[in-house]
Symmetry: C2
Subunit: 215 residues, 2 copies
């Protein structure tokens, strides 16, 4: 499959590398078509890897991942609206605000979420929030966390969530680990969970953990 | 032990009943010393159960639980400052705002929490946030959730957290299930988690669930 990965940070890098490893053609998008981090990734990832602007990567992919820093997301994604029309966008970002120091707070809370803002900015794209509750390493290799644990998906379109689940299964997630929370407003839940995730990171002593819903 | 339970709602009722069942002397506190819900509870709970104002219940207990609706917490607890001086207060409340309809949002987020507000209102009391991440039924009977699952405690005083853990063990929690997140600021994490808890309730179809941290 052709996949766009929007973002050149740790998360974008992990997603793009794993997708190439799985045999997909991946274009990493950045503000500048010649972004140095993307160029270094293309050289390292080899066959199947390419780079371009955010709009290039969005247009290239049959689906795309959004993995930029949350604060700039709507500004960077809005110009991609035409390139993403009718496609699925997997939003893995979180509205983390580091401006007041560590630990971060959320710059969106209450009756809104970053997932919803992105869906409003891209009304003709089917946005699915997923993977934002785990570290980049766990996202693409769920087996690094031993035992059973869960991943959450939020989105308005059931067919889009099904397509995302298939991509997640490609990463190694089992279908039974994928919990459909409902429409995109349920991203308010997974984004707010980051406030607990950060403290659990401290208590666990490693970012390679996750949670399991136990009944 | 003598224990004050501040609050006559579902959570206060569950805590107070379980504590009497475990052999403690429990005074349920309300705005009015003759509160009807507290009177009905006293009649039902029998030996060891009594009622009074919030200040009465706070003064009666060697320790106290705070289980009122979050919105009024600081207003109701501030007059209890002298009665709670030097004692441990277990805050099980959440800053849920139902004023904009369902599902609720949080009326405190960002760089603050209800746990911290209560600690600031009661500077001579050792506030420990605990039990706020599970339903009242699970709080006092963790075995209703099958399998292993975790509970979080937040507070500035290690000795107070140890005392709270002993009370939790009395409810049926195993020491290994109790995760110390750190100081009272970590209540920001467990309170924000409620935004996910509400959506998980929908996905699970029952409030009798919890999460396990998997490494």
């Amino acid at each position: 499959m052709k996949i766009g990965v929007l973002g050149t940070g740790m998360v974008g890098h992990a997603l793009a590398s794993r997708l190439v490893q799985l045999g997909h053609q991946v274009r990493m998008g950045a503000r500048e078509a010649t972004n140095e981090k993307a160029a270094a990734w293309v050289k390292q990832a080899g066959t199947g890897a390419s780079q371009g602007t955010f709009v290039d990567a969005a247009g290239f992919g049959d689906v795309a991942f959004h993995a930029t820093v949350g604060q700039a997301a709507v500004e960077l994604l809005s110009p991609c609206a035409a390139a993403l029309r009718g496609k699925v966008l997997i939003d893995v970002s979180n509205p983390l605000d580091f401006s007041k120091g560590m630990p971060p707070t959320l710059f969106i809370s209450g009756a809104d979420s970053l997932g919803e803002r992105i869906q409003r900015a891209l009304p003709d794209t089917r946005v699915v929030k997923a993977l934002n509750t785990v570290n980049a390493n766990v996202m693409v290799n769920p087996g690094v966390v031993k035992g059973d644990h869960d991943l959450f998906v939020s989105g308005n379109d059931p067919a889009a969530k099904k397509q995302v689940s298939e991509l997640l299964v490609g990463f190694g997630w089992k279908p039974a680990q994928i919990v459909d929370l409902g429409d995109i407003t349920t991203a308010r839940g997974t984004e707010a969970y980051l406030m607990l995730w950060i403290r659990l990171w401290g208590a666990v002593g490693s970012p390679n953990f996750n949670i399991k819903v136990v009944r």
